[in-house]
């Protein structure tokens, strides 16, 4: 406790909130996902209830895709919890991508607490039909 307090005072009060956020970031829920693959790419759906656009952080670093999200639920003053099934307000999950996926062209949508990610395959990895020229001899 003392150590973190000195850390906060050293960095100034402006950083206190951020420090708290980093400390709590270790506790996170794993959102359930669906992943499907078709010829053109991979579709990922993740349940992130209570997460709005500004609280969602998607990151691709090297070959790792990371989903980091925070529940933006505003609780009324003086709320006493009597039953809790979702006890942590943060979601975190990461995936290793394979090489044929084109991380530059990932698209993401967030609607009603469901994140839809589309990761297309790089063009050279997509199946293509090779036409065969038959020369009558």
């Amino acid at each position: 406790m003392n150590a973190s307090e000195t850390l906060n005072t050293r960095r100034g009060p402006a950083n206190t909130h951020q420090e708290d956020g980093q400390r709590y970031s270790q506790a996170a829920l794993t959102p359930p996902v669906d992943v499907t693959e078709d010829a053109a790419g991979i579709t990922l759906l993740a349940d992130l209830p209570g997460v709005s656009n500004d609280k969602l952080r998607l990151q691709v670093e090297a070959d790792t895709l990371t989903i980091d999200a925070e529940v933006g639920l505003i609780l009324p003053d003086g709320l006493q919890s009597s039953h809790t099934e979702v006890g942590v307000g943060r979601f975190h999950r990461s995936f290793i991508l394979s090489r044929e996926l084109d991380t530059e062209k990932i698209t993401a949508q967030l609607a009603n607490g469901v994140l839809t990610l589309r990761i297309p395959k790089a063009e050279h990895a997509q199946p293509r039909r090779i036409s065969i020229d038959v020369h009558p001899s």
Binding site: D34, D47, P49, G50, G78, H83
Partner: protein
């Protein structure tokens, strides 16, 4: 190293601890209790003026959500359509963890709930239901003459 002549049975101790923990944290003494699992996940809390229920139900059209209140029982039901496509052979399913199908969860409301003053709203995949408490149950100051 000191060793007790009558060491405690560690497993019995763990069992007792487990029971005590359950009693301490299981806050559902009603006969209908609370399902521990299921979709949607529920958080229930209360303020002096209202009972707040949060249902974590992402990806649902709010128009298809059915919230009913009957004799102190609040029922949340609906259906979530699957996202995996309809058996398309060209699509491979790698991970399938998200809930799909119809769901129904029931919450027992406390006796002082005012069943006529209920508000429900759906935002970012969370259904929030506020049930006001009856005025008689709210703390009030009694003036002394």
């Amino acid at each position: 190293m000191y060793r007790s002549l009558y060491p405690r049975d560690m497993f019995a101790e763990m069992d007792r601890l487990h029971r005590e923990m359950q009693q301490a944290f299981d806050l559902s003494p009603t006969i209908r209790g609370f399902g521990r699992t299921g979709f949607p996940a529920l958080n229930v809390g209360s303020t002096p003026g209202a009972i707040e229920i949060y249902a974590f139900a992402p990806g649902i059209d709010p128009a298809t959500l059915d919230v009913q209140l009957e004799r102190g029982l609040l029922t949340i039901s609906g259906e979530r359509k699957g996202s995996l496509g309809d058996g398309d052979k060209a699509t491979a399913v790698h991970i399938n963890e998200r809930f799909e199908g119809s769901f129904r969860r029931v919450v027992t409301l406390p006796e002082d709930a005012d069943t006529n003053a209920v508000q429900a709203r759906y935002r970012d995949g969370i259904l929030q239901i506020s049930v006001q408490r009856q005025a008689a149950a709210q703390p009030r100051r009694i003036t002394v003459n």
